[in-house]
Amino acid sequence: MVKISRRSLLQASGLAVAGLASPAILRSAQAQSGPVKLGCLFSSSGTMANLEGRLNYVVKMAADEINAKGGVNGRTIEVMVSDPASDWPLYAQTAKQMLQQEKAAALFGCWTSVSRKTVLPVVEQEKGLLYYPLHFEGDENSKNVVYVNSPPASSVLPAVDYLMSDDGVSAKRFFMLGSDYVWPRTINKQLKGYWKTKGITESAWKEEYVPFGFSNFQTLVNQIRAFADEGGGQPIVVLTVVGSSIPDFLREFANQGILATDIPVLGLDMVEADLEGLDTQKLVGHLNCWAYLQNAKGPANQTFLKNWADYVKANNVPFSGDVSIDPMVSAYDSVHLWAMAAQKAGSFDVPEVTKAFDGLTFDCPSGYKISMTGENNYVARGVFIGSVNDKQGFDVLWQSEGTPKPVPFSPYS
């Protein structure tokens, strides 16, 4: 891994020099003819490959849809794909290369918050535009990033509220288990702040972190059982581990005989793809929360699912055509939102496109009309709580009435 990053570092720094040397005027006067380029920052190798890899194809699919209708501002869209290899610094270098060398009009990418944090200074410095399709910890508001998915206030908190309510399981005690990086730590910090405002004492929760790619959950599941048996009300697990740790955790959890009706798991990063290869019979009832679930009702979702299945078949995509996850839909929304903004602005220049965000709406496959305001670069999305079924998918257990207004900065952290 070291070798790759060093080579790319050399490349990137070379490019940086070239970029600095070229007069700024050349950049804005970029070629006015030919296709306009969009860049993807999703890994096709490393731990995130199975999840991020499929997003490349969704972006391409969305671009094809737009091109079929005549493109944007009279120009067609060309999607560039890269492979940052689940190596966080490489995301920044690839982003730099795409913005400087390829003059990408917008970037679509990153899954983990740590990769977004490495790309952030690059897009800010290069005045690029990054569409980030994952729900995340919030507490960030850059004018160069469009946060297409929800901050905790409109994803995690409604789900935790539901579990704490009488309709849920009246949860009283919380075991937080996460991978050791910024997203889980920030989410858990906000949750703790939130519980404090609800008068829940510190003894009612416990927090544990594991390294990336951790797989031996035996001891931790023992700890969860011990925590649950202490009494004091219904316990739940707030799971923020990512990547291959999710199925490994669920397998051990089920194997020790714990059912969702004993201790429900709220898997914040758990998607349909994580259940591939698991016997979900014993996991029925565990929960996740996203802005889209594959079982969302409505014609928009049916169309999206059909288009995706057709696209997979026609282009020999190495991912399943029957599985559709929230970040895929968010990436799909991203491309359309960008195209609408560029069309409205009549330009591909980032400041112009950004100004056009106010009042954009799009019929998301989730069935909600998602919208943007001029206040910030957040997108108002619906909220779903899903419940694992025995067919390796999620049933919609609860969904919000409308699209709550996104709150970028949490009052609880």
Partner: protein, 535 residues
């Protein structure tokens, strides 16, 4: 006091029971509730529980399939009423019919799910025909003793035909009497709770210290104290066993991952970075065998983990031999080159598998011998998939030891390890021994992949998780000794498991690494050093 209380209590119970039986079950309303919102579904679930405890035999037989159908989302609600989708019967009349076009299958919320699980078990305990089904139902009820409706266990015990099961039901009924008013029943309940010590039981028992009876009744206080002492002892034993078992299971994984490497590293001094990928390929071969069995011999499907053993060993051994013959043979004098070459091989194998099979986690069947676990004592659960890995590691250890110690090949391997030039002088074909040893080491990695497939997710990246850990084991154990590998794996596994609950998994990794570094400062050759040609 209890003399006059008992008859009143009994008559109350009788009244209650007769009252419940007198009101006929409104079946239509119950089905309508099952199709209603979350609140109504909850009511329906409670009603089903009540039917299980107090309903007439006909009502119970009628209600028996409903809770299960709701849990499995097999109840299709339409305008008319509802249909049990699987059987194709109307939920109300049990006449065969198909659900309407706009039928909706209600999803039980988590809270309702737990009620329906209980109701399903309660109904099954009363009316399932197979003893096994009734026993399973009792196990489900045991999980939530406080929610078992009054009278259910007594009624079930009265009609139970199987003596063993009746005893179990009685025992559960006794524990349920913990909050009864009769002190003697409570003391009996305490004794039977203490028989199955667990943290949950301890929480329940220690809550009784604030009970008024604890202060006023000496017998009761003694019983509570004795019960909590007994439970605490059980928990302590259970925790010690759990720690040992977890350590042993982690050690078995480390050992399986490292043993192949130990042989290769020990014999040739080649740092084989592709070892993790050989583990991954072993798991993929296991999956292929499973898929093959699915088509060729579905009856043997459950035994794929056993049947795949030769395939996993031979395929990975062949790949190992191919790597040795085509690549490493030419690089023995250049250790750095061989390291880079095996790294290239590892990247090649990952990408090859990714192109051929995709990046998703493979779907493995979970045969009965690697699924679930049995509670032993306290909170210690003996999980079968870990036991499989432990047993597999022990068998592998024995076989490897036999091969190395008792066969001519092993003799040659040991001779070459100790002094390559001298071995060559006395006529041992060192090149062939290298090849065979590399094949053996690779084959062992393949077996590791097989043993790990019921525990970990199998995908192209899985091998990378193991390479660092296995080098840690090999270096700590002393290069090339089987005994060293065993002891190092046991040590690292146990220490990890001991540290994890105290300071967390992240710190455990760091502390173990620091301990190994410190140990190697003091003893660079590892735990068991081979006196040999190593510089």
């Amino acid at each position: 006091m209890s003399f006059w209380r008992l008859p009143i209590l009994l008559s109350c119970l009788l009244l209650l029971a007769s009252g419940a039986q007198a009101a006929p079950l409104d079946r239509a309303a119950l089905v309508a509730d099952l199709c209603g919102d979350a609140g109504q579904m909850g009511q329906a679930g409670t009603a089903l529980l009540d039917v299980a405890a107090n309903g007439s035999a006909e009502d119970r037989a009628w209600a028996a399939p409903l809770a299960g159908a709701v849990l499995a989302r097999g109840l299709a609600c339409d305008e008319e009423s509802a249909v049990l989708a699987e059987a194709g019967l109307d939920a109300l009349t049990r006449a065969p019919r198909e659900p309407g076009d706009k039928a909706r299958k209600p999803l039980a919320s988590l809270k309702n799910r737990s009620v329906f699980q209980l109701a399903d078990a309660a109904l099954a305990l009363r009316s399932a025909s197979a003893v096994g089904a009734r026993e399973a139902a009792l196990k489900t009820l045991e999980r939530k003793p406080s929610q078992i409706p009054d009278g259910l266990l007594e009624a079930a015990a009265a009609s139970e035909t199987d003596a063993g099961l009746r005893e179990q039901i009685d025992a559960l009924a006794q524990t349920a009497a913990l909050n009864a008013s009769d002190p003697a029943a409570r003391i009996r309940a305490l004794a039977s709770i203490a028989e199955n010590p667990s943290r949950r039981a301890l929480t329940k028992v220690s809550a009784l210290t604030s009970d008024p009876a604890y202060a006023s009744n000496d017998d009761f206080r003694r019983a509570v104290d004795a019960a909590s002492a007994r439970i605490e002892r059980g928990i302590a034993i259970g925790d010690a066993l759990a720690t040992l078992y977890n350590g042993l299971s982690f050690a078995s994984i480390l050992f399986m991952a490292a043993i192949g490497l130990a042989i290769i590293f020990g014999l040739m001094g080649v740092i084989n970075l592709a070892q993790g990928e050989l583990i991954m390929i072993g798991a993929y071969v296991t999956w292929l065998v499973q898929q093959g069995l699915r088509y060729a011999a579905p009856s043997l499907l459950d035994w794929y983990l056993v049947l795949a053993i030769p395939a996993a060993f031979l395929v990975t051994a062949a790949i190992g031999i191919a790597i040795e013959v085509s690549l490493l043979r030419h690089l023995y004098r250049r250790p750095l080159m061989s390291l880079l070459a095996t790294w290239a091989v590892s990247l090649f194998l990952i990408n090859l598998v990714r192109v051929v099979f995709g990046t998703q986690n493979l779907q493995f069947e979970t045969p009965f011998y690697v699924s679930g676990g049995v509670p032993v004592i306290g909170d210690f659960i003996f999980t079968w998939n870990r036991m499989f890995a432990i047993a597999f590691a022990i068998v592998t250890l024995t076989l490897t030891w036999l091969v190395v110690r008792k066969t001519p090949l092993g003799l040659n391997i040991r001779a070459v390890t100790q002094n390559r030039d001298m071995a060559a002088c006395i006529g041992i074909p060192t090149r062939r021994v290298d090849m065979m040893a590399f094949g053996l080491g690779s084959g062992l990695a393949g077996l590791a992949g097989l043993a790990l497939s019921p525990i970990y997710s199998v995908n192209p990246q899985m091998g990378q998780n193991f390479i660092i850990d296995s080098f840690m084991v090999v270096v700590l154990g002393g290069v090339g000794t089987i005994a060293g590998t065993v002891v190092a794996a046991l040590g690292i596994g146990q220490i990890n498991v001991l540290i994890e609950p105290l300071w967390g998994a992240v710190a455990a990794k760091v502390i173990v690494l620091l301990m190994i570094i410190a140990f190697l400062q003091w003893r660079p050759e590892g735990l068991f050093a081979v006196k040999g040609r190593r510089k």
